[in-house]
């Protein structure tokens, strides 16, 4: 229960926050949410550290073996605590960073949603749930990065982040499905215990590839590192959150989580450590040469993530301990550094390192906090960064086997260590010393105390962990590493002093050479003159996007409207081929049409009339309106034929669909070129004729064949059970609203969505009035007389639908046609009854409520009940709860039809007149 609260609370808070206006209330709510989550986690601490795993589970998709399981062990607890703890500090910081910004409630809402998504990833006890929350983190981070939306940098950064992490999400989904199959379950605990089975599975290479693709894209590992640097377009509190505790750490979390399942193989070692090493060096070097303060920090994050990945790639138990430890340390110092950078940016109005110099004189407090944090990042002794970096150097030296990586690893580690010292030195020296500020937009001073407070808390943590590691972090670290390893814990020591050994020498060497490199580069401010290094990856990404867009344009040019005939021919041909393909295999006996069967004579006349109109339509091909009227006549003939063949439901539907279609097309013709150029070449005409005959003839033949087969058992079942199971004698309607009600619910949802899209596209500048009918008196009067009767007929069709031909769909179409005619006659889309959005909303709402009502009564969703109560005056009344659902269908059909047709009628064209 507590787990469920932790997981859902941020989402509830986000929903509430989105409605708030007051910044103070929003701050209080968001902060309270983070603190409550933190408190609940604190309650669990003792149990979790002792090695317990708490779990709560709700059945979700039992048929697929998927359940909504939440699970917390020490590793999940550690990450959850980082997410909520740093989240609380970021909320406090953002309150002052964005002071006076009216978008603050929205910002907090997004931040809470993001926190909820991250907590979900960390606490998910089921692979499918994990993948879902993973996607949510991508979406939430997209919204946060794009927070300053019209700004180009924000939009581009958010797009890059979404494209890369979204791709990773797809890869993760694939990995999850394969992993679930290989392990035999989607349950995380089962999967974690099935490591040997998974590694021996033939699908293992694929699982690993997809999994690493997902992890590397999220954690900004090479070659996906570019999106993280672009993501600094987000407001600084977001950067502090994204870079330290959340988004990028989700990938690291997954690596650690699945290390017992997927790790330990050679493939894992090479793929993970190579990506980590390249990222480590690339990020470290790029960070030194940035001129943007946040850019420097962003690339340093890339580098540190590479370091953690490299450690996990080493695959030794002590390396995993070091990785977990560095996750904690990096989160604390990187969050504080970003906040400090935000303070500098906030106070100076710029964060260009070439202008922001000598800040020590203006903000000594922020300065001293930032210097301590930067020293932690560089790995200066007595701070937390020193301890984990020391462990990293130790691991690099101790690596055995795996030539030549074992030889290169210490060298790479040393180089990266030196680069880390160099960019940390630049951060400290360039911002706080190095002469006086140049051309600042405003005069900097110390920030409000509350803005510096979160930085101070984090820096204090850096110091405490650095000075007395074991009492502060020993227990959770040991428990988390134990959980990550999934087995026994190696012996390691968190002590500050291990004597003179290799790692210490490497630390010293890195410190000295790092400072030296920076000093050389910065001599006479030479570093400020250097151009930015090429942000490798982003240009390639942009080029890829451009290529995709261009190929789309080429494709559209081949198929778009002015090649209508080609387009139709391709569609028809594709349909013919798709339908004909299975027949080529054989094993199919054809029935030749036998006209001896009892076909009513009237039916033949109707067919002949229909055929004549169809041929007439082809001869009038250059006059669209005439063609349309002929086609309408063909449709009516088909409706009559249905009636003659005892399919009254189809006949009714066909009739109204035909009317609505002709109406829609007539209105659409206003927007189309009146005349199509005639096809002159005989060869082309023959070709089109052949396609037409193949399409029409083939469809007819297929229908014929289908009707001659013995109906499969399912239709017998439905006919037999319509009355006893659903209390209706109209089996068609019973199937729609009861037996397959869930399908119908999906269909009306799609219908509503499609109508809304058309409405949004066509009616952008909706004109209020359709001018031509203005001033007519007779038409509106006639409509006023006829409309109530049309509505009455619709009600009649709806009411009898459960037992006789009719039902919500047909009644909805009829009512919609009436409403459209009314709107056209009144010459205004604001006619009193045609409020399509309301119809849609009411219909969907009613259908859902009907379904939910059965849930409330303890039956599965959309179970229907029926009875035949006897009322005093009206006598016996057949009643089924499905009728309410049918009413929902009716309303959606009305809304969608009215919306589609009116969108054509009152579109932009009229707006111009």
């Amino acid at each position: 229960m507590t787990l469920l609260t932790i997981c859902l609370l941020p989402w509830c808070a986000a929903l509430l926050l989105a409605r708030l206006r007051s910044a103070t209330a929003a701050f209080a709510l968001a902060g309270a949410c983070a603190l409550v989550v933190l408190g609940l986690l604190g309650q669990m601490a003792q149990a979790v550290w002792a090695g317990q795993t708490l779990q709560s589970s709700v059945a979700w998709l039992p048929a697929l073996g998927v359940s909504a399981t939440l699970r917390i062990d020490a590793l999940a607890w550690l990450f959850a605590t980082l997410v909520s703890g740093i989240g609380a500090l970021v909320i406090l910081y953002a309150r002052y960073y964005m002071d006076g910004d009216e978008r603050l409630p929205r910002f907090f809402a997004l931040l809470c949603a993001f926190m909820g998504a991250m907590l979900g990833v960390v606490l998910a006890g089921d692979l499918v749930l994990l993948a879902m929350f993973w996607e949510l983190t991508s979406l939430a981070s997209f919204l946060l990065i794009a927070f300053n939306a019209p700004d180009r940098g924000a939009v581009r950064g958010a797009r890059a982040a979404l494209a890369v992490t979204g791709m990773g999400g797809l890869a993760l989904m694939a990995a999850v499905v394969m992993l679930g199959r290989a392990a035999g379950s989607f349950d995380l605990a089962t999967v974690l215990a099935a490591g040997d089975v998974v590694r021996a599975d033939p699908r293992y290479p694929w699982i690993l590839t997809c999994f690493l693709l997902a992890v590397f894209s999220k954690s900004a590992q090479f070659p996906f590192q570019f999106w993280l640097a672009r993501a600094m377009a987000a407001p600084t509190p977001v950067s502090a959150y994204l870079h330290s505790a959340t988004l990028v750490k989700a990938g690291i979390f997954l690596l650690l989580r699945f290390y017992p399942v997927l790790g330990g193989t050679d493939a894992w070692f090479f793929a993970v450590s190579t990506a980590g090493a390249i990222t480590l060096l690339l990020g470290g070097v790029a960070a030194v040469f940035q001129h943007d303060l946040k850019g420097l920090l962003a690339y340093s994050t890339v580098s540190h993530l590479g370091l953690i990945t490299l450690l996990i790639g080493f695959s030794t138990p002590t390396a995993i301990v070091a990785a977990v430890f560095h996750v904690i340390n990096h989160a604390t110092f990187k969050a504080s550094l970003f906040m400090a950078a935000g303070i500098v940016d906030h106070e100076c109005g710029t964060r260009d390192l070439r202008n922001v110099n000598g800040m020590w004189r203006y903000m000594p407090l922020t300065g001293s906090l930032a210097i301590v944090a930067a020293a932690a990042m560089a790995g200066v002794p007595l701070l937390n960064g020193f301890l984990s970096k020391e462990m990293f150097f130790g691991e690099a030296l101790a690596l055995e086997g795996h030539d030549p990586i074992a030889l290169l690893a210490p060298l790479a580690a040393l180089l990266a260590g030196a680069a880390g010292v160099a960019y940390s030195a630049r951060f400290v020296h360039d911002v706080f010393f190095n002469g006086a500020p140049i051309n600042l937009p405003r005069t900097p001073h110390e920030p409000p105390l509350w803005m510096a407070a979160p930085v101070a808390v984090l820096v204090l943590l850096c110091l405490l962990v650095g000075l007395i590691p074991t009492p502060i972090i020993g227990a959770p670290l040991a428990a988390a590493a134990h959980a990550a390893l999934g087995g026994s814990l190696p012996s390691y020591s968190l002590a500050l002093w291990h004597g003179f050994n290799g790692p210490l020498a490497m630390s010293a060497l890195a410190l000295v050479s790092g400072v030296g490199i920076y000093a050389v580069l910065m001599r006479k401010r030479a570093l400020h003159q250097r151009p930015l290094p090429d942000p490798w990856g982003y240009r390639q990404f942009e080029r890829l996007l451009l290529t995709l867009a261009r190929s789309g344009v080429v494709l559209v040019r081949q198929l778009r409207g002015d090649r209508m005939r080609l387009q139709m021919a391709v569609l028809a041909l594709a349909a013919v081929l798709a339908a004909g393909w299975p027949l080529l295999g054989g094993g199919f006996e054809a029935h030749l049409p036998e006209l001896t069967a009892a076909i009513p004579q009237g039916g033949i006349i109707v067919w002949v009339v229909g055929a004549v109109f169809a041929i007439a339509a082809t001869s009038a091909r250059n006059q669209p309106v005439t063609v349309l009227l002929f086609l309408g006549a063909v449709g009516l003939a088909v409706a009559l034929a249905f009636a003659g063949l005892s399919a009254p439901d189809l006949s009714l539907t066909q009739l109204f669909v035909e009317v609505a279609t002709v109406l829609l097309l007539l209105l659409a013709l206003q927007r189309l070129p009146v005349e199509a150029p005639p096809v002159r070449s005989l060869g082309k005409r023959l070709r089109y004729a052949a396609i037409a005959v193949a399409g029409g003839g083939g469809t007819g033949w297929l229908a014929w064949e289908a009707m001659l087969r013995k109906p499969p058992a399912i239709s017998d079942y439905q006919l037999a059970n319509a009355v006893s199971g659903a209390g209706g004698t109209n089996a068609v309607n019973v199937i729609i609203v009861d037996f397959r009600g869930f399908d119908t619910l999906g269909e009306i949802t799609v219908l509503a969505a499609a109508a809304l899209i058309v409405w949004a596209f066509l009616a952008r500048e909706r004109a209020g009035v359709l001018g031509r009918f203005q001033g007519s008196f007779m038409l509106p009067t006639a409509v006023k007389i006829v409309m109530p009767f049309a509505a009455l007929v619709a009600v009649h069709l709806y009411l009898r639908g459960h037992n006789l031909p009719g039902g919500g769909f047909v009644a909805g179409l009829l009512l919609a046609i009436g409403l459209v005619l009314e709107a056209l006659a009144l010459g205004s889309w604001r006619s009193p009854h045609a409020r399509p959005v309301r119809w849609l909303a009411a219909g969907l709402g009613l259908a859902l409520l009907t379904g939910a009502a059965s849930l409330a009564l303890g039956y599965p969703f959309l179970t229907s009940a029926f009875g035949h109560p006897v009322l005093p005056v009206l006598g016996e009344i057949p009643l089924a709860s499905a009728a309410l659902f049918d009413l929902g269908v009716l309303a959606v059909v009305v809304g969608a039809t009215v919306m589609l047709i009116l969108a054509f009628a009152f579109g932009r064209e009229e707006g111009k007149k």
């Binding site: 031509r772 007519s776 007779m778 038409l779 006639a782 007389i785 006829v786 009767f789």
Partner: protein, 111 residues
């Protein structure tokens, strides 16, 4: 079903069919739009009206009192046919604005 009713139904059907035939013929033969407009209007009102009346009468005797609903479409036809003719005429007028003619004997001379 009594004899007189049978006769009534037959007469109504024949009159209706004749009206429809004459209307269609007129549609083909009359010279211009405005005069042509008369033909289908009469065909619709009279033709459909008679046929529906025949239907109502026959089913009154076959099925009993419930046959009044066949008269509902009749009402619709009476309301809508003139209105649609009116709207067609308006549409034609909108495309062919009336210009003052020197000869009052010819109200309209467009082809």
């Amino acid at each position: 079903m009594p004899m007189w009713a049978d006769i009534c139904v037959a007469v109504l059907l024949i009159v209706g069919a004749l009206a429809a035939l004459i209307g269609t013929w007129g549609m083909l033969r009359l010279p211009d739009f405005m005069t042509r407009l008369h033909a289908p209007t009469k065909a619709a009102t009279l033709g459909a009206g008679c046929a529906l009346a025949a239907l109502a009468l026959r089913f009154y005797f076959v099925e009993g009192g419930s046959s009044l609903r066949y008269l509902i479409p009749l009402g619709f036809v009476f309301v809508t046919a003139p209105v649609s003719a009116h709207m067609l005429a308006r549409a034609w007028r909108a495309r062919h604005p009336v210009t003052p003619k020197p000869d009052p004997a010819m109200p309209s001379a467009s082809p």
